[in-house]
């Protein structure tokens, strides 16, 4: 299996997605500072920061899920694109002849592809989320952007949140890929990812106090759906013909 994953890495340009992950992290870091300074900017104009959106960004319990949601949306779409490039495109039409000509179990090749994309998305999002929030937290501690201090307890909360969100983003990518596989379409995969990830963001803003439990439930549901569609796809690929 490790050999198959390394072969996937050799024949696909993973560097594109590494760069994309970095860009996502930098852009979200920029947004984080913008949101963080929002209440102060408004206050300097004489507007009292009592809006719910501002409240979210005045505590770490509100701030961490919000930044996480931005990462979730971005990485879920990136995961769908990766899945579409690594999997959907390679089983599309006559191109499938190439993969089907190897004397390797088709299910093993598909498994290697999905594991690679799932793993890459989860790890990249986990690292980016931790790095961006921690960096923001340290700067906030130094210059006082947020009224609260970023302590070990916040960092542990961030760790817990990042694990759940990373798995959620990868699961969304997997389910979106299966939907895109029906028409062998990249756009269908991306649109599916956006549709799947949309409700998570809405739930967050509506119930910020229960965001972690909601994300956990969402992650478990999508992970189970992801596993089911993956197993169904394995069967489908095994029976596929190179027409």
């Amino acid at each position: 299996m490790i050999k198959l994953i390394s072969l996937e890495l050799r024949r696909n340009k993973i560097s594109t997605f590494l760069i994309a992950s970095l860009i996502i992290a930098v852009v979200i870091l920029g947004f984080t500072f913008l949101f963080g300074y929002g209440p102060q900017i408004e206050a300097s104009k004489g507007v009292m920061p009592n809006d719910t959106a501002f409240e979210i960004f005045m505590t770490w319990k509100g701030c961490i899920p919000l930044i996480g949601t931005l990462f979730l949306g971005s990485f879920a779409v990136m995961s769908a694109i990766m899945n579409a490039k690594f999997t959907v495109a390679e089983y599309d039409g006559k191109r499938a002849i190439l993969l089907f000509s190897y004397p390797v179990k088709r299910s093993r090749i598909l498994f290697a592809k999905c594991i690679l994309v799932f793993g890459f998305t989860s790890i990249a999002m986990f690292i980016c989320n931790i790095a961006v929030v921690s960096f923001f937290g340290l700067i906030s501690n130094a210059v006082g952007i947020l009224p609260e201090t970023f302590t070990t307890s916040e960092f542990l909360y961030l760790l817990k949140f990042s694990v759940v969100l990373s798995l959620l983003a990868s699961s969304v990518g997997l389910v979106a890929m299966r939907i895109g596989f029906i028409k062998k379409s990249l756009s269908a995969s991306i649109v599916s990812a956006i549709i799947l990830v949309g409700p998570c963001g809405s739930l967050f803003s509506k119930f910020p106090d229960h965001s972690f439990s909601m994300m956990l439930i969402g992650m478990v549901i999508l992970l189970v759906i992801g596993l089911i569609v993956f197993l169904e796809l394995l069967t489908k690929v095994n029976k596929m013909e190179a027409v």
């Binding site: 050999k3 072969l7 050799r10 006559k94 000509s101 190897y102 004397p103 390797v104 179990k105 190179a242």
Partner: protein, 242 residues
């Protein structure tokens, strides 16, 4: 003489959406021969090769490679096959040698990539990505990929497509060399002269039905000056009989 069978089809049928593409095809290819499949466009040549390569499931009957069912034992079959079927696809951002190296990894064997690239006339491509290759170069690379893992059986679907006359001759010589080394070659073409100059036995196929299997030398002797007309007559179902 006890000749071993390399490829065999038994009552092989294939339908697409209820439309029959191959009808109860029975062929037998002996080990070490170059076997031609001649047919017009849409006659079922590519479908036949795909069924032999285990890329498609027969609607009825079966294809067997070295005694193994192509669809049911496809991984065993695929390790004995080299194929160039339809337009060859590659990893476009990789060079010729990187593509071949990946192929070898998947096939689980090692080989001298430089030598094979020299054999097909691609030794000077260096790190040039395949996306910059011409049609002829892609075809040569497709042939290189089909032979590099030293398969026992080679399936070639219109292998001279996109090649210039010099390359066609070089490839023909290469196929004969491979045959002399013991490789069995199934070569499909709609090009009569290609079939005439390369194969030993020819299967004529029209609308998915076997019209004739003949030894080419015997055909040449029987139809000394009008073999082309004879074959066109067979392919056209008698419409252009000489």
């Amino acid at each position: 003489m006890n000749t071993k069978i390399a490829v065999e089809t038994k009552n092989l049928c294939k339908e697409f959406d209820g439309k029959s593409v191959l009808n109860h095809l029975e062929i037998r290819v002996d080990q070490g021969e170059i076997y031609g499949i001649l047919g017009t466009n849409g006659a079922g040549k590519t479908t036949l090769l795909k069924l032999i390569a285990g890329l498609m499931e027969p609607t009825e009957g079966g294809a067997y490679v070295l005694g193994e069912n192509s669809w049911e034992q496809r991984n065993k079959v695929l390790s004995n096959i080299g194929s160039l079927i339809e337009v060859p696809y590659f990893y476009e951002h990789l060079s010729a040698s990187q593509n071949l190296s990946l192929h070898l990894e998947y096939m689980g064997v090692s080989a001298d990539i430089g030598k094979v690239l020299r054999d097909v006339g691609l030794s000077d491509t260096g790190n040039k990505p395949v996306s910059k290759f011409s049609l002829g170069m892609r075809q040569r690379l497709g042939i290189a990929r089909s032979i590099i893992h030293r398969p026992k059986i080679l399936l070639l679907d219109e292998p001279i497509n996109g090649l210039d006359p010099v390359a066609i001759r070089e490839m023909r010589e290469l196929f004969i060399l491979l045959k002399n080394k013991g490789m069995t070659i199934l070569l499909s073409s709609h090009n009569l002269s290609e079939i005439e100059q390369t194969v030993e036995r020819v299967l004529v196929i029209a609308n998915g039905t076997l019209i004739e299997v003949a030894n080419l030398e015997e055909l040449k002797n029987t139809h000394q000056n009008n073999l082309e007309n004879y074959l066109i007559g067979r392919l056209s179902g008698g419409k252009y009989n000489d």
